[in-house]
């Protein structure tokens, strides 16, 4: 998937992946895509909740080994 910005949140524990995602998205224009990689096992549920609460669409979420990859679209 194409993305405009990438955020490496690997090795960071809750709430940093969400906190940094929100910050990264705030600097982006509407419609742009952010790729986030994380190792926090709670990030799957957290990203879904974040997406629903903030209206930034979660385009996809996947697990690759111990890493989680998310694509979010800035609203």
């Amino acid at each position: 998937m194409n993305f405009d910005k990438e955020l490496d949140a690997r090795g960071l524990a809750c709430p940093l992946p969400i906190v940094k995602t929100r910050k990264a998205l705030s600097d982006m224009a509407s419609g742009q895509v952010l790729k986030v990689t994380a190792t926090d096992s709670g990030s799957m549920a957290d990203m879904a909740a974040f997406s629903e609460q903030t209206g930034n669409q979660l385009l996809s979420s996947a697990q690759q080994g111990s890493t989680y990859v998310f694509f979010l679209k800035r609203r």
């Binding site: 809750c14 940093l16 906190v19 974040f50």
Partner: protein, 156 residues
């Protein structure tokens, strides 16, 4: 989608109790919520400019996971509190958990309103200059004014 509101009351000042209010506040702020935290009694310690004095004691903390079982009398020995604090901080660092300073900074950047209990300051003769400039001083009524209209109100 109306903005959700959350009010927190932070009453504890040890390392383990410092995390819940800062994590909840910073996460809610990241979700776009309006958040206010009222720091009272020992919670006021969390608003000090210098957070290095925030500690955790192994004593009377039977739920704290210990690498080695430790008798209570040993936990009371000089230096044990410093060691427990250091070990806890190191563990958090190695697991990628944010420091208190980091989380508080996130709260400040996300416009989380942090209210310091004026009564507690008076009670313990604290110096206002020891606290971060972003803290506003107020009383219970100030806080309840906001708390009454929130979706989530938690006591920590």
């Amino acid at each position: 989608m109306t903005t959700k509101k959350m009010a927190l009351i932070a009453t504890k000042g040890t390392l383990d109790w410092a995390y819940p209010p800062f994590i909840l506040a910073s996460t809610a702020a990241s979700l776009g919520w309006t958040v206010q935290v009222f720091f009272t009694f020992y919670g006021l310690q969390l608003l000090r400019k210098d957070l290095s004095a925030i500690r955790i004691s192994p004593l009377a903390n039977p739920a704290m996971p210990m690498p080695v079982p430790m008798p209570v009398l040993v936990q009371a020995l000089p230096g044990m509190e410093s060691m427990a604090t250091m070990m806890m901080k190191n563990k958090m660092k190695s697991k990628g958990v944010a420091s208190l300073e980091q989380l508080r900074e996130v709260c400040i950047e996300s416009d989380v309103k942090m209210i310091a209990c004026q009564m507690t300051v008076d009670l313990f003769d604290f110096d206002k200059n020891d606290f971060i400039p972003q803290a506003q001083f107020g009383g219970a009524a100030t806080f309840l004014d906001f708390a009454g209209g929130t979706d989530v109100c938690l006591y920590i």
